[in-house]
Each structure stands twice: as C-alpha cells, then as structure tokens.
Symmetry: C2
Subunit: 132 residues, 2 copies
C-alpha cells in the first residue's frame, strides 16, 4: 500500500517519557493472530504508509525501526486501521515471517495458567541462528 494518514485525527501518547507515540498492533491478515505490540511516531507511520513495510519506533533504542532489518522478517502492510480515540493503530500484515525475536510466530506465545506463564506456541527458529 502507498497512502497517507490524517494526523490531525490521531492522538499521541507519551510512553516512558517519550512523546509523540501511537500504539501499534501488528495482526496477521490471514490467520488474524496478533503478532506483536509496539509503538510508532509520526515518521514511522509515514514510512510504513509510503513503503508498505511495517516501521516502528523503538523506545529502548530511541529510533525508527524497520521490522525485519536484523532478522529479515519484514512485514508487508495490507491495511491500516485506527481506533475510536486515534491513539492505537492496527497494521494488517502479510508475508510476515515469525514476529518475535524469541523465535515464535507471535510475541504472545505464553498464556497465564495456574499462576505461571506457560509457553503455548511452537518455537519456529532458534534466535541464536538469526541474530548474530
């Protein structure tokens, strides 16, 4: 997709002291699995809409981040949805490799079960093989 977004209808949040961020949910367009939650600033959203590849803003590294720049697992963005109050955005993505740096299709690979976080998804790669 190549598109632009009316930023005047969006509302930023300040996350851990970093201003100007939107919450981004990356959702697989096919399986509808929620793959990850991250943040984007205006520039990251603009780059996503210009290139059709998911960009985020890393609150730890304090910079724009093309998903897949290290792992090769980029996310093609088919559709961008905005919520009622304009502070959260869904990237509907396809052709996405495993989203999680821990080697899972989704970052949500653990569920609460009897007071512990139990892994409930298969690991599809070993992070040591991908991040060198």
């Amino acid at each position: 997709m190549v598109d632009s977004i009316p930023f005047n209808e969006l509302k930023t949040r300040t996350i851990d002291g970093i201003e100007g961020l939107y919450t981004i949910i990356s959702q697989d367009a096919g399986s509808k699995e929620v793959l990850m939650v991250a943040y984007a600033n205006r520039e990251a959203l603009e780059k996503t809409l210009e290139t059709g590849k998911a960009h985020y803003y890393s609150t730890s590294r304090k910079k724009i981040w093309l998903k897949g720049e290290s792992s090769g697992n980029t996310q093609t963005v088919d559709e961008v949805l905005v919520d009622c109050d304009g502070d959260a955005v869904i990237y509907k993505v396809s052709e996405a490799g495993p989203a999680c740096h821990m080697g899972f299709e989704t970052c949500f690979y653990r569920r609460v079960e009897n007071g512990v976080l139990r892994v409930c998804k298969p690991q599809v790669f070993d992070p040591k093989d991908v991040y060198k």
Copy 2:
C-alpha cells in the same frame, strides 16, 4: 477463568505520566477480531483474573473500570496471553457485546484509505440509546 499472574515476569510502562500500566488488547476469541486497546494496572489485571470479566484502568478518569459497567457489554475473559517483554497482554474474550462506545463491534472501525479515515464496519447501535 480464575487465575493469578506472576507480576515479577511483567514490565510496566508509564503512560502520559501514569506509572504501573500494561497495554491490553482485547481480542474476540471466536472471530479473532481485535476489539479494543486499553491499559490495566496490577489491580485491574488481578480483578480480571479473579472475576473472569475484563477490567481496565482508565487513563482519563484515573480509575479501574469494569468493561460494560455503563453499556452492559461486559467481556468474559477465556484466556490471558503475555508478550515476550511482558508489557502487553491479550484478553481473549467471548460473550462480548459491541466493544466500542461509538456503537461498533470493534474500536478499529476506520481504515486509512487515500489519506482519510474511512468507516469500514457496520454501526450496530446508536450510542445515544446506550449511554444516557
């Protein structure tokens, strides 16, 4: 569900100056539609796990909020998933009425289309009839 969560494996964020929050995605367990994004603090997560009904923390009203306390559209939580870095949580919900106070099944009822936010879901109730 009645369960508890190992908070030492979670990581809070500070949102608009409010400490101790987790990002919560509410996802329909059947359709897998993402219904809404909101926040919870520890108490809201604990109440959710104790009661099986989705609770959140309102950053505008600065208090815990039982989803549906005004609209009647509570969310039964079947499963709670946690992401790799522990700051985001999915409530998999069922028996949920329309999630959005604007009268839509999901808060993500608008998509970016040629530079505007276009409504792409049917409105299922008139907010004036529900919030009096």
